[in-house]
C-alpha cells in the first residue's frame, strides 16, 4: 500500500485510500520540524515526484524505505560514493534498512542537484521517433562487454585441452563476422540516406526536414505504431509534471534546509575543494631565441611560434576540452546545406573524434603486438633447430 505512494504517478494524487488525501498545502502545514514524521514525508513525496522512471538509484532509494534488501542498500551506498557523496552517516547506516530515512532524503536531494537528476532522466528516456545513433563509444569501454568473463565453456569438450587450430578457426570466423557487419552497415546507410532524401520536405518540423525510418513506416502502417503514440503522450504528461515541479522547487529546497537544522557539528569542518588549476610554464628556449634575434629573425620567430601553437592545437584541445564531450544517442538528420545550428552535433566532429580514437587504439594494439613479438623472439631462441623468419 505504501509502495503505491511511491509509485510515482503523474497526477500527483494519492491512490491509497488509507492515507489522508493530501494536497501540497496540507503537507506544508504538517509539523515538518518533526522530520521523522514518516507520513508527512511520504505524502510530500507523493506530490513531488511525478516521474515513474526506472532509473536505478532514485527508485531503489525509495524502495529501500519499504523493502529492506541488503544488496540494494549496498548498491545505493556504492553509487552515492561513486558520485562523491561524502556524508559518513549515510555509510554507517545498517544494511537491513531499519533506520536512516532522513539520511536517504538528504542524499537524494543532494543527488537531485548534483546530477541534474530529473533532467537527465527525461533526456535519457526520451521517446525515439527517429534514426538514433550513439555519438560516443562509451559502450565499448565497459569491461564486461569485452572478454568472455562469463565462462561459457566451449562445446569442444570437457577435456581441458584446446587445439590451437580451433582458436584460429574461431578467430577467423570472428574477423569474417566483422567484415559482414561492415557490409551490412554500409547497406543500411545507403537505405537510410535514400529514405531521408526521398522524404525531404515532408516533415512538419522544419528543423528535421525529412522523415526517419520509423516515421515513414508510420505513414505506411499507422496501426503498428499505436504504442509509439501512447509513449509520446505519456512523455508529454511527464514534461508537464516537470514544469509543475519547477514551480514548486522553492518549497522543496526550503523544506530541505529546514531538515538540516538539527545536524550535529555542522560547521565544524571547513573543507576546500581542489579545483584543477591551469598551469602555465614559460617558454624556455632562451638561447635559441637570442640567437635568432641576433640574426634578426625575431619576426620570423614570432611567426614560427604561432604556427607551432596551431600545430599543437589539436593536442591542447584534447587535454583541456572547452566543451563537454558528446554523449548519448542523437537523431540522424540529413542536411545538405549547412545552417549554423548550435544545438546540433555535426557528423564531421564525431568523425574526427572517432578517427583519433581509432588511431589511439591501433597504436595500443601495435604496442601489444610488439611486446608479444619480443617475448616470442626470446622463446624462439629456446627452440632447437628452428629459425623463425617473421613476415
Amino acid at each position: 500500500g505504501l509502495v503505491s505512494l511511491c509509485w510515482l504517478n503523474p497526477t500527483g494524487k494519492s491512490e491509497c485510500p488509507a492515507l489522508v488525501e493530501s494536497s501540497f498545502t496540507t503537507c506544508l502545514l504538517l509539523p515538518l520540524e518533526n522530520s521523522s514524521s514518516f507520513l508527512s514525508r511520504t505524502s510530500f513525496y507523493n506530490n513531488c515526484w511525478f516521474f515513474p522512471s526506472m532509473y536505478c538509484l532514485s527508485f531503489v532509494l525509495f524502495l529501500i524505505v519499504f523493502f529492506f534488501s541488503d544488496n540494494q542498500i549496498r548498491f545505493v551506498k556504492s553509487a552515492l560514493w561513486y558520485h562523491g557523496y561524502g556524508r559518513p552517516e549515510l555509510y554507517r547506516l545498517p544494511s537491513d534498512g531499519s533506520a536512516g530515512s532522513r539520511e536517504l532524503l538528504l542524499a537524494f536531494s543532494w543527488l537531485l542537484h548534483r546530477l541534474s537528476l530529473l533532467e537527465q532522466l527525461l533526456a535519457r528516456n526520451r521517446v525515439k521517433t527517429g534514426d538514433e545513433t550513439s555519438v560516443c563509444t562509451c559502450e565499448d569501454d565497459l569491461p564486461n562487454s569485452q572478454t568472455g568473463t562469463t565462462e561459457r565453456a566451449p562445446e569442444y569438450g570437457l577435456e581441458d585441452r584446446v587445439d590451437v587450430r580451433y582458436l584460429q578457426w574461431l578467430n577467423g570466423r570472428l574477423r569474417f563476422q566483422w567484415r559482414s557487419l561492415h557490409a551490412q552497415h554500409q547497406e543500411q546507410c545507403k537505405l537510410l540516406h535514400k529514405i531521408h532524401l526521398f522524404t525531404s520536405g515532408s516533415h512538419m518540423d522544419q528543423t528535421l526536414g525529412h522523415f526517419s525510418v520509423t516515421e515513414t513506416d508510420l505513414v505506411r502502417q499507422p496501426e503498428n505504431y499505436k504504442q509509439l503514440l501512447q509513449l509520446l503522450e505519456f512523455e508529454t504528461m511527464q514534461l508537464e509534471a516537470f514544469l509543475e515541479w519547477k514551480q514548486l522547487e522553492l518549497v522543496y529546497w526550503q523544506w530541505m534546509v529546514m531538515n538540516q537544522t538539527d545536524f550535529e557539528g555542522i560547521f565544524s569542518q571547513k573543507s576546500t575543494r581542489l579545483f584543477p588549476l591551469p598551469f602555465f610554464f614559460p617558454l624556455q628556449v632562451k638561447t635559441r631565441e637570442e640567437e635568432l634575434q641576433k640574426e634578426g629573425f625575431s619576426a620570423t620567430a614570432r611567426k614560427i611560434e604561432e604556427s607551432v601553437e596551431l600545430k599543437l592545437l589539436n593536442l591542447t584541445h584534447l587535454c583541456a576540452p572547452k566543451k563537454p564531450q558528446l554523449h548519448g544517442s542523437c537523431r540522424l538528420v540529413y542536411r545538405s546545406k549547412h545552417p549554423a545550428s548550435k544545438m546540433a552535433v555535426s557528423a564531421t566532429e564525431v568523425i574526427r573524434e572517432l578517427q583519433m580514437r581509432e588511431a589511439s587504439l591501433e597504436r595500443e594494439l601495435k604496442q601489444l603486438q610488439e611486446e608479444c613479438r619480443q617475448r616470442l623472439d626470446e622463446i624462439a631462441e629456446g627452440l632447437d633447430g628452428v629459425i623463425c623468419i617473421s613476415p
Partner: protein, 550 residues
Amino acid sequence: PHAACGLRPAVRAGRRWGVTGRPVGRRVADGAGPCRVAAALAAALGEGAERRRELEQRTARSRALLRCWGSEEDEQSQPEAGSSSGHENRPSPKELEELELLNRALEKALKVRKSILKSPLEAQGATGEKSAGEGPTPKNAEEQQVPVPVEDVPENTKVRAVSKKPASLKKPSPYQLRAPYRTDPDVKKLQRKAPARCVSQGSRTAGKSSSKGVACKQGRSHRTVICASDREVPAPAEPQKIPGLSRSALNEQQSFSVGDSAGGKNSVAAGKRLSDGGRKNCGFLGESSKKEDPTTEGALGRSTSPRTVTLQEKGCQLKLPLPYRKAYSRNSRAWERCRLCQTSADAAAARNRFIERIQTTFCSTMLAFSPAEIEKELKVLQDVPSLLSQYVEAEPADHPTLEREYESLLTLEGLQTTVSQCLHKLQLLRTAMESQMRLRPDCAGDIGSCSPACVPPRGQMCDSAGILAVPLLCYSSFQELRDLFALKLQVSMLHQEIALQKVMMAELLPVLESRLYPEASAAQLYRAIYTQLCEGGKRFPVLVRDELVD
C-alpha cells in the same frame, strides 16, 4: 633443391596431423588458459551475431519501405543462413567431411608434386613457389595464382563441387608449373567479367598457401568458383541481392573452414586472408550493390502498376497521420518549454544553501575528485599518449635550417608542457583515487555496475538547457554517413581486438614459456601462436629447420 627445404618440414607436419580428418594433435597440455581464450572468442562471436540480427531487422524494415508499398509482403527474404550457421562453435560434420576429402586430395597432390619435381620443370616449379612463398604477399605473387584457379571456373560452376576436385586435380597441375605468372588473355577476359572483388578474393587467398602446392590452389579455385557463381546472384533486383549476399557469405564461410583445414596451418592463413581481404571487398560489395541499385530502383518504379507507389516518387508529398502530428507537436512544445524553464532565483538560493551546508558535513577526503569525475578525466586523457607519440615521432632528428630547428624546439617544448600538465593531473587523480578507495563502502557487485554507460557531465558544466535540447546529429553527405558508421564499427572492433589480445597474451604465452607441450609439435604451436599474437592471425612467419650441418 635447398630452396624448397624450408617447406618440407611443414609439409611433413601437415601430412602428419591432417590425415584423420578430425582436428587432432597439437594439443596444449595446460588447457585452462586456452579454454578462456576460446570462451572469449565464442562470446565475441555471440555478440557479433546479436548485432547482425538487430541490424538485419532494421535493414529489412528500411528495405521494405523503399519497395513499392501497394503490393503485399510476399517477398520471402531468405533466412540469414550466414548468421545462423555462425552460431555453432565447432566445425560442422559436413565441414569435417570436406576436410577429410581435401586432406586426401592433398596427399595425392603431394605425390604428384614429388614426381613432377623430379622432372626438368623442377627449377621453374621451385621459383614459382618461392616467389609465391609466405611472407607479406607481393602483388605479382597474387596475380600468379589467379589465372590458374580461374581456369577451373568454366568447368566447375557448381558451388558444391568438392567431390569433383580430386578428379580435376591432375589437369591444372601441369599448367600451373609451367608459367604461372603469364596471364592468359582468355583468363583476363574472365577476370574482367567477374567483378574485381572476386579476383581480389581469389588472389588474396592465393598468397599464403602456395607452399602447399596444388591442393591449396585447388582449394582456392573452390573459392573463386564461389565468387563466379556469387557474381551471378546479385544481378537481379536489389531485394534479392541481400539473400544472395548472405548465401555467398555462407559459402565463403564454409569454404573457409574447408580450405582452412585442408592444408593445415597454411590454408588456415589463406582462409584468414580471404576474410581479411574483406574490408575493401565489403566496401566494394556495398558499392556494387549501390551501383546496381539505380537500375533496380528505376525498374521498380517503371514496372509497378499505377496504383502502387514507391517512396521515390511520392516521398516528398507524404504526410504523417493527424494523431501523430498532434502528439508530436504537443510533445515538442512541451520539450521546448521545459528547456527554457529556469529555476527561480529564490529556489536556486535555497538549493545552494542546502548544498553548502550538507557539503560541510562531508569527509574532507571526499571533496577531491569523486570517482565519477576521475573516470571522466581519465576518459579525456585517454587519447593523449597516442597523439603525443605521433607528434614526437613527426619531429625529425636533423634540421636543415635554423628556423626549422627553432620550430622543432618550440614544438617539443609545447609537448613537454602538455606532458607535465597531464602528468600532474594524473598524479592528482591518483591520490584522489587512493583516498576514495579507502573510504569505499562494500560494493554488492563490481564497481563497474555503479557507473552507467555515458556518465553525464556534472550539472554545472552542462546546463539544463543543454540537457533538454533536441539531440540531433547532422550529416551533410552520403559519404559522411558511411564514414561515420564505418569508423564506429572499426573502433568497436579495435576495442574487442585489444581485449582479446590481452587475454591471449595472458593465456598463450605461458604455454610456450612453460614448455608443457609435446615436443614434436613445438614448431607448429609456436608458429600458430606467433601468427595469432603478432600478426592478428593474418600472416604467418616462416619456420626454417636449421638442417645445415656446420
